[in-house]
């Protein structure tokens, strides 16, 4: 004949049985091991008095719903982390100091069908929580990596365009305009041809760092492709974008680049587009406008800033 109390003692789940007045009538071996409270010390005692922290969790209230409604009640790990403060015993994964638990309160009915006891089952879900945390962290890292341009460490084109779309949606909702800058390294091909591709890579990395240092924290700088960079300037007017673009142009022009003891200078040409020039368009439309300006700047001798009205070429050559 099997004694089912022995069976419950072999379970790797905490099992407690309480009466309506919260008196403990059963406390299994798992509970003894994790609480360090032996059975004889808790059976016959009021559970919420022996473990006063249960009151803050609303345990008595939930147990009462089980007695009154005959339903199950739960303490979800997602919201409570644990019901009983037991130590996390995992030697190699100590990042969580307490054992994470899911707890189920189930009705036990007497011969007349009324609920006269509640069975409390405590499940150790620490491993699942740890795996979930690792998964979330891995996902976060992957998402982060998928946004970054490997060479320069700034946003890649996909993320830049996504942020631009977001800014465009915000503009449509709030009418809070913005500007974009598209810029290109002048004569970059000759940098690669004369100094080698490693130097070309260095120029792109250094340029990204210079640009980043000149922008506001909430501006979005990304590598648009090759030696082209895009910048989204939330809340900026065309005039403000021109000022920022000119500052970038001037800073790059004055910066000395050094690769393998070889010192040299580079210049950039910048085109601007803004929501000020018409109704909101698609991200591609905005970049097309900025690209047209950039092309115009290249044709007019480079190292300048161009806005979309066709003749407002500014920069070093125009004396700014």
């Amino acid at each position: 004949m099997i004694d089912f109390r022995d069976v419950i003692d072999q379970l790797t789940v905490g099992v407690i049985i309480v009466t309506r007045s919260m008196e403990v009538v059963f406390w299994n071996r798992w509970m003894e091991e994790h609480s360090r409270v032996p059975r004889e010390e808790v059976v016959g005692k009021v559970l919420t008095e022996k473990f006063p922290a249960l009151k803050q969790k609303g345990f008595a209230w939930k147990a009462e719903t089980v007695f009154k409604l005959g339903n199950f009640a739960f303490f979800s790990n997602k919201h409570h982390q644990f019901l009983f403060e037991f130590q996390n015993v995992r030697y190699f994964r100590p990042s969580l100091s307490q054992m994470q638990q899911n707890v189920i309160l189930a009705p036990l009915r007497g011969p007349d069908g009324t609920v006269d006891h509640v069975c409390v089952s405590i499940f150790d879900v620490t491993d699942a929580v740890l795996y979930e945390q690792q998964l979330v962290e891995s996902k976060r890292k992957l998402e982060e990596l998928s946004k970054i341009d490997e060479l320069t460490g700034i946003s890649n084109r996909r993320h830049l365009m996504a942020r631009l779309s977001k800014e465009l949606s915000h503009y449509k909702r709030s009418s809070c305009g913005f500007a974009i800058i598209l810029l290109d390294v002048d004569h970059f091909k000759s940098v690669n041809d004369l100094r080698g591709h490693l130097c070309g890579d260095y120029v792109l990395r250094e340029l990204a760092s210079i640009l980043k240092g000149q922008l506001r924290e909430y501006d979005i700088l990304g590598r648009y492709g090759g030696e082209e960079f895009g910048i989204v300037l939330p809340g900026a007017t065309v005039d403000q974008a021109m000022t920022i673009a000119e500052r970038l142009r001037s800073k790059v022009e004055k910066s000395t680049f050094e690769h393998d003891s070889d010192k040299f200078n580079i210049t950039i040409t910048l085109g601007i587009a803004s929501t000020e020039f018409g109704p909101a368009m698609s991200p591609n439309d905005l970049f097309k406008i900025a690209d047209k300006c950039l092309y115009q700047g290249k044709s007019s001798g480079r190292n300048c800033v161009v806005v979309p009205n066709g003749d407002a070429v500014q920069g070093a050559r125009s004396g700014r």
């Binding site: 009154k68 409604l69 005959g70 739960f74 919201h79 189930a106």
Partner: protein, 208 residues
Amino acid sequence: MEELTPMRGEALQEIINISFGRASASLGELLNLLIGLTVPDIQEIEQSQIWGELERLVGIDRDITIIQQSFTGAFSGEVLLTMPSYAGKQFIAILGQEGGFIPDLPTTELEMEVFLEIGNMMIGACMGGFVDLLKTSVGYEVPTIILDKKPLANLDLRKQNNGGKAILVRTKFSIGDKDLTGFLLILLSQEWFDALYLALDKFIEQAI
């Protein structure tokens, strides 16, 4: 193929109605408030139709909260309960002030906790009728919030479909002087529907 005939539908409605009646009385006693649950409107739908039907009922843009709970036993499945998101703060007030349920949790966690509590009670009440009907018992998994105060379009689950059927229970409930409309979906695979029809037929036979 077996289907929910008008007679079976009527019997099912009666069973759920009785369960809801019992539940509202017990909930009212627990919270010291008058709890009203309208006679539920029952509909059987294919799982592929669930989200379209729910979108029609709750609207595309409206923020809702969905509680999901699995059950296993002589028959197994899942229950989904949708509630309007604005109900969270009302539930905190009701359970806290009237019911004395004040767990030590931050406000956002507390709001989710009360959604789970009320959801668990509603689901338990409804499932109680099923369980009694089938003269069996089921065990429940810990309920979870699968959509937290967002429009239905944000639910990943929408893309999944195991080809089974669902019973859509539409009910309005009032707690004190507050009216809320929630929808309860009982998702079962076809084999469990067949068991349910068999039990409904027995129920009808005994009632006649």
